[in-house]
């Protein structure tokens, strides 16, 4: 079971994302987006992650230019990837990229705007899982994860989405308190909180875990893939 983690151009959570998948029992490979010139490369992998960070410094809107770069040669391959039943996760900046690629909803329908508070926030948020059919969230009811973003306010523009995760006390003014959404298949998860920064007790504030460990998200995908591929 091998996971592809895409990095480059300002993405910065690739190492801890790889660490989380490894801890969950997967093999991982981190590839620079410029090295992904052959779309077929991604089919050697059973799962794919777009980690957090500040691709292109968030200029022109978070995830905007990075999604353009991916779009050029990888977009179709990503849809194929999901069609083959393989899971994709986009965390924070990766979530922002996923919305722009149209992997969660039609392009232009949903987006992530500047936080209502007007600035970046780093704090831990309590989250409720609202869609356990998403393969990443099986068996998880509640989690405590860090959010670290300036543009995390979920905007639905009135479109119906599959809400996967919900904030207990909406810290950024998201529509319907949405912290994460999944696609129709339940294979693609986009979320603002960082489960890869909550993979062991010591990383939790005060060293106290409440709810499921963030690691469980990665374990779910690894187990799912191991059963199928």
């Amino acid at each position: 079971m091998k996971v592809l983690i895409i990095t480059g151009d300002g993405v910065n959570c690739e190492l801890e994302t790889a660490r989380a998948f490894k801890m969950a029992g997967a093999e991982t490979q981190i590839l620079h987006v410029s090295d992904l010139t052959e779309a077929s490369l991604i089919h050697d992998f059973q799962a794919l992650a777009l980690p957090g960070g500040f691709s292109f410094g968030d200029e022109l809107g978070s995830g905007k230019v990075f999604s353009l770069k991916i779009k050029n040669f990888l977009q179709d391959a990503l849809f194929d990837f999901v069609a083959q039943g393989k899971p994709i996760i986009g965390i924070c900046n990766g979530f922002q990229v996923l919305t722009k690629l149209g992997l969660l909803s039609k392009p232009g329908e949903i987006g992530l705007a500047h936080n209502e508070g007007g600035h970046f926030i780093d704090q831990w948020a309590t989250l409720k899982v609202t869609d356990e059919d998403c393969i990443w969230l099986k068996g998880i009811k509640e989690m405590h994860l860090p959010i670290r973003h300036g543009e995390g306010r979920f905007i639905s523009n009135g479109h119906t989405v599959r809400k996967a995760l919900e904030y207990l006390d909406n810290p950024n003014g998201s529509d319907d308190s949405i912290a994460g959404v999944t696609d129709e298949s339940g294979l693609v998860l986009g979320l603002m909180p960082h489960p890869e920064a909550a993979i062991k007790e010591a990383l939790y504030p005060g060293g106290v875990v409440t709810g499921s460990l963030g690691l469980q998200i990665f374990k779910n995908a690894v187990n799912y893939c191991k059963e199928r591929f």
Partner: protein, 1000 residues
């Protein structure tokens, strides 16, 4: 073809910070952005839509639009502010748009700007006077104010002009004659911003007059006197910023106590270096590289090495706080990237010293320094700079401090530090700390082009601030470019593609290539190979420009193709400027013309030693430019505590700190607010080293200490107290007292006596005392100094707003940064998480009100009470730390917090804020003694929280160790603090006071 596009948010967010700048304003201010695009062909509209906006969030306009059609629920704008970068200033948004268009096959040149729409009624003068200075800095941006109506109808979409730098300096080097009198030479130094003193100018003159030098120059077709390239390189290399001349100076110092006249041959070798050498000789065996590289390198762990460096960026931050701070943090990151064969930044630490943000309310505004930014604005700017610099680079900001004092109102101090991770051995077997440039290696500069920005940074920072300070010293950083450079370098390092590396900081390539050339004994470069942001720069400008994000590498010619190819693939600019040689000279060409021939020995060792005089000072009355009003609240201890907790120096900095990403890289286990609820403050940042490849369970903690107000009492005690606080901070997180290293960063008021600086000798006396105190405490604690830096002219000489002359000098400030190592089994946090807990005072009670927060806040404080700081015994503190560690290893400590600003009661309060516990204070004493115990400050003390079922064992172990301890409180669920002299104080109310409203 030129085109203007505007991007408007679908859901405009009110910028509250800006709205509050307008008195009485009830409306809304939001921001949109615009771009000016110049390309061969007009980009198709679809491509622009696709390229620049997210239609779920934004709207794109390429021609005049009806505001009310876009925003039917908003008021019409009363004003629109247009902010655009001045020509040549780094424009990160424009660069991103150029890349976005390129991805769609469109090659274009872009510029960006911002529009601020003011919706609602307000007065034009308020917008111009209050709002305009908040949306931009006129040193680097043009800011114009328009009425909403006229702006929306104007012809901006038709008349679209990209800003461009138009300079036409000759692309030649000129001779700078040193003929003439000393006065004329000094005038030259001032005019060219060289910051060379008389002796230095004469040394240079004498060198160029030497027969052999003249002969050599004649043969090579060089003029008799230095070229402008040469004199500028000499000035940068010899600047105080680069050469630390004051720390190398010979100082005559009559000791006031002994009356003995001592001569100090360099503070650095006599105290700083000596401390570390003596500690090493006494058995500390984990120092890898401490005096030679960009940063200190230590081997705490068997798998990975750590390096650490702290820099200051005071002068640039005073002019443009955002740009100064972001280039400060990115700059120190580059120090780490250029340490050894390259290290990976894993944590940042940032300390700001600023004037009180309350100054404009506390004193007559006419007394404030004219022409300087108010502290609140400076704070917002430097904070944002550090936020963007750290967050966008993916480096967690794990530690820091903010110190407020009126004497920083003339010059803010901005310290930026970074911890780096190195492998002891690289994949190809080379030692990670080895720097191995060889003769014949090619000189590659990577990262980007140069402009006129950042010229004279090194010499400028070696001068005091005045109203003519050069704006070219101001720059903006580009974190994306630097992140790419960093990722590229890590890859290239592991592939063995370069042999040596260093950063480009002060002095630009003049310093980086000049320093690396010392390894081989020379270098030969052509300045024309260096890309420029715009045409028209002179050779000397290319040579010393401090344009950001650049690193210099030595590349073996056999790897140069691979190096260049990888750079290209990673979107990093890399170009070869020449090669290293053993000629003994730094040879510089521009195209075919030789523009500089600098003898390596003269360049690096030719600077004459300064000879200075120092005067001893002790127990001075505070001499400050303004006296702040004090409260009178000492008769009510509860009220005193509430007010203390609200003070800027003590209050929670959470609203600021939570805008820094402190957890990226997934290894921050000791957080700025460390309890399960994330409210109570931690003592230090702690990193999980195992996550970074360190041994199982390894951790590293970073703390800091500074005690500037103690300088006027005794500079020696100030040094000791700074070290003690830094050490105490990380001891409280559970590190091993035998594995702690320190960094010293001195920021001083001008210590060189002159007709305009009449107290120079006293300031120098304080510097000597500080160094001597630092030596004593470091050798006592066995904590070696592994890196340091100094910044020497932190004075403001100008006028106040009423036009009267005003001098503001900072308090002599030593920032000590500590880094320690330990095991995660022993990690401690500073929060009481359980009710069944007893609080103990731990350590020797050495307390005083001298230089305390209490004495600053309220009148009626007795400075004679307690133990005088002159008598504080730090050997007792050292014992306490060793015992602390032993008690902790027994697993007896539930939580620990050091007693620092505000004293014991502030510390106890902070420990219980997470859960709003009740606190029953124990013990009986007189009111005076209670005040001293509760609010006194001193070294080496902690509050320990011990679970009730372990108190017996704790007391037994502590008694055996003979370390003083005293039960001070029990915890309960009442939410009240009660005691003999405190009556039913609501902890929630205390917390509210501590969670100060910072909305500045």
């Amino acid at each position: 073809m030129k085109k203007r596009i505007e991007i408007l948010p679908k859901y405009p967010v009110n910028l509250r910070g800006l709205s509050s700048a307008l008195p009485g304003f009830k409306g809304k201010i939001f921001k949109s952005s615009y771009y000016l695009i110049e390309s061969e062909t007009t980009p198709a509209w679809d491509a622009l839509v696709e390229g620049v906006i997210d239609p779920s969030l934004q709207m794109l306009k390429g021609e005049n639009f009806e505001f009310s059609a876009l925003y039917p629920h908003e008021n019409q704008p009363s004003f629109v502010l247009d902010v655009q970068f001045l020509p040549g200033v780094t424009d990160n948004s424009a660069k991103a748009l150029e890349e976005a268009l390129k991805l769609q096959g469109i090659s274009a040149k872009c510029a960006s700007g911002s529009l601020y729409y003011v919706l609602g009624e307000c007065r034009e003068e308020d917008v111009k006077n209050n709002l305009a200075p908040e949306v931009g800095n006129s040193l680097i941006q043009s800011i114009s104010v328009h009425s909403g109506e006229s702006f929306l109808k104007n012809d901006r979409f038709e008349k679209c002009e990209l800003p461009g730098v138009k300079i036409h300096h000759d692309q030649k080097a000129y001779e700078v004659s040193l003929e003439g009198s000393l006065e004329e030479l000094m005038a030259l130094s001032k005019e060219r911003c060289l910051a060379l003193n008389e002796n230095e100018l004469q040394t240079i003159k004498a060198y160029y007059e030497k027969e052999e030098v003249q002969k050599r120059r004649l043969e090579l077709g060089l003029p008799k006197w230095p070229t402008d390239v040469e004199i500028e390189v000499l000035a940068q290399t010899w600047s105080e910023h680069c050469k630390h001349k004051i720390f190398a100076a010979t100082i005559d110092y009559p000791d006031s106590e002994t009356g003995e006249n001592s001569q100090i041959k360099g503070l650095y070798p006599s105290f700083i270096k000596k401390a570390t050498k003596d500690i090493e000789a006494a058995g500390v065996d984990w120092l890898v590289s401490v005096f030679s590289d960009n940063a200190g390198i230590v081997r705490f762990d068997e798998n990975v090495d750590l390096c650490i460096k702290v820099e200051t960026h005071n002068s640039p931050s005073a002019l443009d706080p955002y740009g100064g701070a972001i280039t400060g943090i990115l700059g120190v990151n580059r120090d780490i990237m250029g340490c050894g064969l390259g290290a990976k930044p894993i944590a940042n630490t940032d300390v700001f010293c600023l004037g009180s943000t309350e100054l404009p309310q506390l004193i007559d505004e006419n007394l404030l320094p004219a022409g300087l930014m108010e502290p609140a604005k400076l704070l917002r700017g430097v904070h944002k700079g550090v936020e963007d610099g750290g967050n966008k680079s993916g480096i967690p900001t794990i530690n820091g401090a903010m110190v407020f004092d009126q004497d920083y109102a003339g010059k803010p101090l901005v310290f930026c530090g970074t911890v780096g991770l190195m492998s002891a051995t690289l994949p190809d077997g080379r030692a990670g700390d080895e720097k191995g440039a060889k003769v014949g290696d090619e000189i590659y500069v990577i990262g980007g082009a140069v402009g006129a920005d950042g010229i004279h940074g090194a010499t400028f920072s070696s001068m005091e601030l005045n109203e003519d300070s050069p704006a070219t010293a101001v720059q903006i950083g580009d974190p994306l470019t630097q992140k790419r450079v960093m990722d590229f370098l890590m890859e290239a390092r592991d592939l063995g593609l370069y042999t040596c590396i260093t950063d480009n900081g002060a002095g630009g390539i003049a310093s980086s290539i000049g320093e690396m050339a010392e390894l081989t004994g020379g270098a030969k470069i052509d300045l024309n190979t260096h890309p420029r942001k715009y045409p028209g720069l002179s050779p000397w400008e290319i040579m010393i420009s401090e344009s950001q994000e650049r690193m210099t590498c030595a590349v073996d010619p056999k790897h140069s193709d691979a190096f260049s190819e990888l750079a290209k693939k990673r979107g990093v600019s890399a170009f070869c400027m020449g090669h290293f040689s053993d000629s003994g000279f730094l040879e510089v060409f521009y195209k075919d013309e030789r523009v500089a021939l600098l003898e390596m020995e003269f360049l690096h060792d030719g600077v004459p030693t300064l000879e200075l005089k120092a005067k001893s000072v002790k127990n001075q009355e505070r001499q400050t430019w303004v006296t702040l009003p004090k409260r009178d609240c000492l008769n009510d201890a509860g009220n005193t505590l509430k007010h203390l907790l609200n003070r800027e120096n003590i209050a929670s900095k959470a609203p600021w700190v939570r805008q820094y990403d402190h957890e990226v890289q997934g290894a921050t286990i000791g957080k700025p607010f460390g309890g399960s609820k994330g409210i109570s403050p931690g003592d230090a940042g702690v990193i999980d080293l195992e996550a970074h490849g360190g041994s199982e369970g390894a951790m590293a903690a970073v703390g800091c200490g500074l005690a500037p107000r103690m300088s006027m009492v005794s500079a020696r005690v100030m040094a000791k107290q700074s070290v003690d606080e830094a050490v105490r901070n990380i001891i409280a997180t559970g590190v091993d007292p035998k594995k702690i290293c320190l960094l010293d960063n001195f920021c001083w008021p001008d210590p060189v006596q002159s007709p305009t600086n009449t107290q120079g000798e006293e300031k120098l006396g304080q510097l000597v005392d500080t160094c001597s105190g630092l030596y004593d405490i470091c050798t006592l604690y066995k904590t070696p100094l592994v890196s340091g830096k100094d910044s020497m002219k932190n004075d403001f000489r100008g006028k106040n707003r009423a036009g009267d002359p005003l001098v503001i000098s900072i308090q002599p400030t030593l920032l000590v940064t500590s880094m320690g190592y330990g095991h995660q089994d022993q990690i401690l946090r500073s929060v009481v998480e359980k009710e069944e807990v007893t609080l103990y005072h731990f350590g020797h009670k050495q307390l005083s009100f001298v230089a305390s927060e209490l004495a600053e806040m309220t009148s009626g404080v007795s400075l004679d009470q307690g133990v005088s700081p002159h008598d504080w015994d730090y050997a007792l503190c050292k014992e306490t730390y060793d015992h602390f560690s032993k008690v902790n290893k027994e697993g007896l400590i539930h939580a620990a917090h050091d007693i620092s600003d505000g004293g014991l009661l502030c510390a106890v309060s902070e420990m219980v804020f997470d859960h709003n516990w009740g606190v029953e204070l124990l013990g009986k004493s007189t009111y005076e003694d209670f005040l001293l115990t509760g609010f006194g400050e001193g070294p080496g003390q902690f509050i320990l929280a011990i679970e009730n079922h372990k108190t017996h064992e704790f007391e037994r172990v502590a008694s055996e160790l003979k370390v003083p301890f005293e039960k001070v409180a029990t915890i309960n669920s009442s939410g009240k603090m009660v005691g003999e002299h405190i009556n039913d104080l609501s902890v929630k109310e205390l917390r509210t006071s501590w969670q100060r409203d910072w909305s500045l």
